[in-house]
Symmetry: C2
Subunit: 217 residues, 2 copies
DNA sequence: TAGACCATCTTTGTATACAAATAGAGGAAT
DNA sequence: ATTCCTCTATTTGTATACAAAGATGGTCTA
């Protein structure tokens, strides 16, 4: 994709994922274009691309809105993630090099250290969420299945999923980090079934956290 | 998507899936536009959409080509299909109504009847392939997970996958039909693990057929 | 006052025009 | 002959203009 179109794509996408744009907000091509100082053409292209990824809904002749997700969507998303990410573990385990295992262990160290600091939640949680994404992403990368990575990406690029850690209780966070550690241990031991099982439990636990918190609202 | 853009999208897509366009053929916006008697704008939109679905590759400033798939891609695709479609079986089994089971049994009957006719391969195989797609699609529909359906769709909308039956030997075809029958039996019995296992074996068997034939070339 | 209908205004869909980037051919230098 | 360069032709990327479809608001009628 070209320069301007891909830039505006990133901008709108980031705004949606961060929750800055939401509530099925209308995305009017002309408005976006003038506010960015460009023409409608690249804006339109960006919106269609976001639509293909499921981040916006477009109806013919009626324009684009930021997509919405309900509890059923989240159930589906986390179920599929649990299946696909555990498969990624299965594929990654026999392929992981010592350096890659060390990389994962290092992320575990960093996350555990972060969890113990006295920083405020506002500083700590985004940092933890970022490292969490790197952890999961690394396993997918080691699995060496580009399509698997793409499928998972379409599932996790949803505001609520991206902000999972924001709803975590201290207990849930601690359990999450224990899961990470156990996954790496299983991979290091070359036990792909173990690794896959823990990953499945890990993602399903996240599902319960997110759904529980959301239904409480 | 609008009238013209979605029409040209369907046209190009069908041409790619049928194998009519292939060999990483270049897709020049202007050429497509004049041959269809329209402007570049909707052509461009259709191409970007096809790119998002993975049917065409686009590089910035260098245009679009029909995508290509090698043996590794096919391995990946069938592996993921085996996981996702067996999950669909798992979800579908407890949900399937008597009418839906009857529908699936009916497709099994029709496919078995078709396999026995004395029609030439050129007539029989496309008909079998169409019914096969309906069979798999129905199970996904019963599973009631729209995202799962979308993920599988992106995997199977690949020329070689769509034309799987064309490379089937009579033995492979027979085994495929037996699998279908067993899947329905398992679903009818409410045994989701059985159904899922057969589906996994079914898809992996297809993988072997397709890969074997392709490597023989 | 409620509801339907019409005019208008906004917004999307498509066409065309222009700018920028890339590919390819031809020629010059070594 | 080979390599590098430049110039041109082709093709993509963006802007603008126009057409068509929806939304909106007000008025008229019952």
């Amino acid at each position: 994709m070209a320069k301007i179109a891909s830039t505006v794509y990133e901008q709108i996408r980031t705004a949606i994922l961060s929750g800055e744009l939401s509530n099925s907000e209308r995305l009017v091509e002309e408005d976006l274009a003038v506010s960015l100082g460009i023409s409608r053409t690249p804006v339109r292209e960006a919106l269609r691309r976001l639509a293909a990824e499921g981040l916006v809904d477009v109806s013919p002749n009626r324009g684009a809105r930021v997509a919405e997700w309900d509890a059923d969507d989240l159930r589906e998303i986390f179920d599929l993630r649990s299946i696909l990410e555990s498969h990624a573990c299965e594929l990654a385990t026999p392929r992981a090099s010592a350096a890659e295992i060390a990389f994962l262990e290092n992320i575990c160290d960093e996350m555990e250290a972060l969890a113990k600091t006295e920083l405020s939640s506002e500083q700590r949680l985004p940092a933890l969420a970022a490292k969490n994404r790197i952890f999961h992403g690394k396993i997918i990368e080691i699995s060496n299945s580009s399509r698997l990575g793409l499928l998972i990406e379409t599932l996790i690029h949803v505001p609520i999923v991206m902000q999972t850690y924001k709803v975590y209780s201290p207990q849930a966070l601690e359990r999450s980090l224990r899961h990470h550690r156990e996954i790496v241990t299983a991979m290091k031991a070359g036990d792909e079934v173990w690794a896959a099982n823990v990953m499945r439990a890990h993602v399903l636990a996240a599902r319960e956290e997110v759904l529980g918190r959301n239904e409480a609202d």
